[in-house]
Subunit: 212 residues, 2 copies
């Protein structure tokens, strides 16, 4: 039951949660750390250690009750509530995200969409109207958005990051290929497709190089 939680632990928690959901989990069904490990590509000891940071939810000799562990994890991850999300950038990536089904299911509710293309401003996506980024501060405040997804080109990402933060956003999911500078109490998660691809080509190249 410690204080500082490793980033890698958090990612695994997400994964355990997904496994639990796949597992269905009617009534008093239980699951062992061993089973979770297998599904999560890790070890049983790791699963138990990860969970032990937050308390002890299992029963010895029996395992974890699926239903209970699931709701505990949702609470730990902070998704036992709805998060209001501002989507900044209504281009290709923005629209793909908006349509992403798991999104709403998991408690993320896109309450505002911004773009600076006059062609797009005023159109509606589902219930939401695309706004000019000129209105960003006002709309973010009015809608009470707490998260921002930045799906905009690199050159404008930094400016928009500052603006959403000053309008009250508490965390940013960033698709632009730059390191955003924001106050350090505002967490930023970067999604960089190029970086992922490079990790992949590195891994492939490296694997080949072992034989040399």
């Amino acid at each position: 039951m410690s204080r500082r939680i490793p980033e890698s632990t958090v990612r695994r928690l997400s994964h355990y949660l997904r496994s639990l959901e796949d597992l269905g989990g009617e009534g008093g069904q239980t699951v062992s750390s061993e089973e979770l490990a297998e599904r999560g590509q890790t070890t049983a000891a790791q699963v138990r250690k990860d969970l032990s940071h937050f308390g002890s939810f299992g029963k010895r000799g029996l395992g974890y009750r699926v239903e209970e562990l699931r709701s505990r994890l949702r609470h730990i991850l902070g998704i036992d509530r709805t998060w209001r999300v501002a989507l900044v950038g209504a281009g290709r990536i923005g629209s793909a995200l908006f349509a992403y089904p798991d999104f709403n299911v998991r408690g993320y509710d896109v309450v505002a969409v911004f773009d600076n293309d006059p062609e797009k401003i005023g159109r509606t996506w589902g219930e939401v109207t695309i706004r000019s980024s000129d209105e960003l501060e006002r709309v973010v405040r009015d809608t009470g958005a707490e998260l921002a997804i930045l799906a905009v080109p690199a050159p404008v990402a930094q400016e928009l990051a500052q603006r959403v933060v000053s309008a009250g956003v508490k965390g940013i999911l960033n698709f632009a290929p730059i390191r955003l500078r924001v106050p350090k109490d505002v967490p930023v998660e970067d999604v960089s497709l190029v970086m992922e691809l490079e990790a992949l080509s590195f891994a492939i190249t490296q694997a080949g190089a072992v034989d040399e």
Copy 2:
């Protein structure tokens, strides 16, 4: 100049490379580990340690020649060549990726696109015709695709992963929210938007909880 390279090092290398590219880098311009650190949100010692895994490219008292380090990094990351990519899934995410500008620039060339929607099969995107996934093995082999991007729903991802691998693909970028089972010499990079968002809501929630 060691053997096993930490995953985190690889990601930082990607980042250094991006910084070097931003830096322009005409002629004999140089950059110090300190400068790279600043841009990469890390420390100078970390930069030097990361690079030292692969040799020593700097000049003491002077730093690294931008142009040279850039091409070294491109070589290390395995992107001093073109990678032929098969894009599996022509839905929202697939099309966003296809249009992603950095993609071609960075040496990733989409040589085949697959979908199983009869509406989409036969259409062309740029130079590439969308094929039925029935033809996957043949087309992957014919085009010599080495990487696959899986942008398909979770239920079919595992099957398609196996099929691209058996057709000769050497690495997979996976957007489906499941852990793929593939031979262990085939690297898989997962991109999970939900996981990123959950890491974000955890961080925000946690930050608040410190005050309690």
